[in-house]
Symmetry: C2
Subunit: 456 residues, 2 copies
Amino acid sequence: MPAATPAPVVLALAAALGSSVVTDAAALRDAQADKSGHRSAVPPLAVVAARTVAEVQQTLRIASAHGTPVVTRGAGTGLAGGAIGSAGEIVLSTLAMDRLLEVNAADELAVVEPGIINAALNEQLAPHGLWFTPDPASRAISTVGGNIATNAGGLLCAKYGVTRDSVLGLTVVLADGRLLELGHRSVKGVTGLDLTALMVGSEGTLGVIVEATVRLRRLVPGITPTIGAYFADVRAAAAASAAVTAAGIRPAVMELVDAASLDAIGALLGLPLRERGAAYLLVQTDGAAAEAEAAQLLALLAAAGGTAELTTDAAEAARLLEVRRAMHPAMERLGTTLIEDVAVPRSALPAMFDAIAAIERKYGMVIPTIAHAGDGNLHPNFVFEGPDVPEHVWQAADEMFQAAIALGGTLTGEHGIGLLKRRWLRGELGDEQFELQQQIKRVFDPAGILNPGKVF
Amino acid sequence: MPAATPAPVVLALAAALGSSVVTDAAALRDAQADKSGHRSAVPPLAVVAARTVAEVQQTLRIASAHGTPVVTRGAGTGLAGGAIGSAGEIVLSTLAMDRLLEVNAADELAVVEPGIINAALNEQLAPHGLWFTPDPASRAISTVGGNIATNAGGLLCAKYGVTRDSVLGLTVVLADGRLLELGHRSVKGVTGLDLTALMVGSEGTLGVIVEATVRLRRLVPGITPTIGAYFADVRAAAAASAAVTAAGIRPAVMELVDAASLDAIGALLGLPLRERGAAYLLVQTDGAAAEAEAAQLLALLAAAGGTAELTTDAAEAARLLEVRRAMHPAMERLGTTLIEDVAVPRSALPAMFDAIAAIERKYGMVIPTIAHAGDGNLHPNFVFEGPDVPEHVWQAADEMFQAAIALGGTLTGEHGIGLLKRRWLRGELGDEQFELQQQIKRVFDPAGILNPGKVF
């Protein structure tokens, strides 16, 4: 316990939940930040590390009675500040609720608690020949509950859908502690409004997910050919990736790495990557047509000006993948990174790279950018010194958001609004939809205790 | 104009919209019914056959000013009474807004008006090598707007998803005439609450869909093998279909026809179908693995006790498909039909058929049933004399709904709640979710003029 007298809400929680209520300084400090680099100014009052649905319900009943805000949190791997605790708030962690409750191969579904790590779930599913397709880059460290709360994307969305498409049903605790069962175990179901879909991506503002029934796929059999291709410039690589989609091929993975990213990755790996080109495209195909598609892709990428190599050898493939995988550690060596997340229609990828280049020139900055090119989802990285995003970076980001929206896209493809993009939400939604969304939020949470100041 | 003095709201609509406002008796009579067989007791005040977004907005502004209920309607092919007009109501038809506004092959999307017929859209997409996957059995006569308003299913959902998975963005007119743009043109996007998904399946209770941006797929190349298999009883056929899913195969189509259905279909077609078995399973595979999967299926169905034949010949395939396609006309010869629509997890198909058999015995009735077996979606047909569903049929249906829900399913897989299933909605949702859904409805439509008495 801290030296100061605990707040009444913390005393009430401790009385009800005992050791699940944590107030040591390290735990509170951890709950002030996520993977965005952002940190709140003041620690939250306490962390409740819930172990059961009943504990979540009790936490919300007590918080409601005290009018105390509750920030739901999984593994804290968010990139938008959506699960950051701050002054006067309770952080409700569902990380310890991490059981796989059921695997049903016949129905291709699983029932999970929210704290289960995405990769851990997939490890437990593999012996059944099954697979939970949402595949955020954070899969080794992020929870399924967090994936659902942010409608997480990843590398496979063009072919295998976004998280929303994999959620059949949810058990949710409302702000006042009531339990709600949404959805069903059948593939189809149209009984009333689709509150399951509404809950996916709601970033802790509508309720606390305490159980999820998720759709699974069979593991895709056969080999997964991998192609790495270098291009003379990013526009050529972007045009090539758009040509892949236009040719009617849906690769499992199609990732684009630009010149500034290759510089940093080459420096990290000690490899002369930039001698090979100024942009890199990594493509994988899977399924029954994988080899035929890969051969077609190889020809298509060469025709688009790429220097491409194809392999089905695991060690060779790992080498081609390593370039993309080294992006995040390469950025961390440069300074503090704000990883942005715009999405555009796939044909607009070249135009979006042009817009980023124009912003780089205008602001005199370098914006290393990678893209889930198969989805039209770009992650431009703003690098700066110190913990706080400088205002000129936000100005540059603002221009980037406007460019993405003007191209028919959005200011966040998969990371969410959280804290960091709140000021742009109204601009994209428009006043009327913004008001409507706030009213829906109030239906679920009339007192406004669920993740206040996030999203809205 | 009818002989009676038109209501003030009709005069106001006619003054504003001229010939788009229709009040002749035939048009009003048509708007009193849909394909459910249900008919309202009293005709609506008028039908507005809107041709533009502006006309939809004007209609809603005028209806709001007069406090007049508005029933949005497409082709009137619904099976739950969701678009039926009644006393004191305006029926707002979007059937004339039927343009394909854009096809974008590079982004695999189309922009459509709501009145476009599903099959007509697909005819226009085919030359581009593209395809809108939602495939309700009504596709030749139902509109895309209606497909979206009901989150329509069909034969391909296990493999190709439900309508919701194909909707990227919607333009919606609210009850007061305001225009709302939801979603985006990119594959990904998590900006705020997912109101696009909420609107899908909302059955005209939240707003009027006036434009949709939909995801497309490339037409699946290659041949589509077709298998027809007869079984000794429906339980064996249901178990075989569950075994297909359990074996990890996702057929494009997997339809099950029971004995009573085969009796009626055989009589219609003049074929001795029942001599071949007491249940029929129709399966199609597609894509690069189609032939390998079909061969595997043939062995699997034989091992499950089926007498199966496989063909890749178009005329032979048509003969195998005809058995399933003749279901609806075969039912129409028997009397008035209430087509029910429960869905269960796929492994529960045999148990659901057992439950239907028990209801048949208890009520002394025959319930011909077909199933989208790949999705776990059953259509039991209640046949009776005269226009109105007899109370004992509703009692039997009630027991069927309870059985489906107890098996983890739902009382409507793809048809919606509309008028006909209102009294069961609260039972499936539970009191708390039911109240929450009504509150969300009020956020969109505070005066309650949008399709009142439907769904809620």
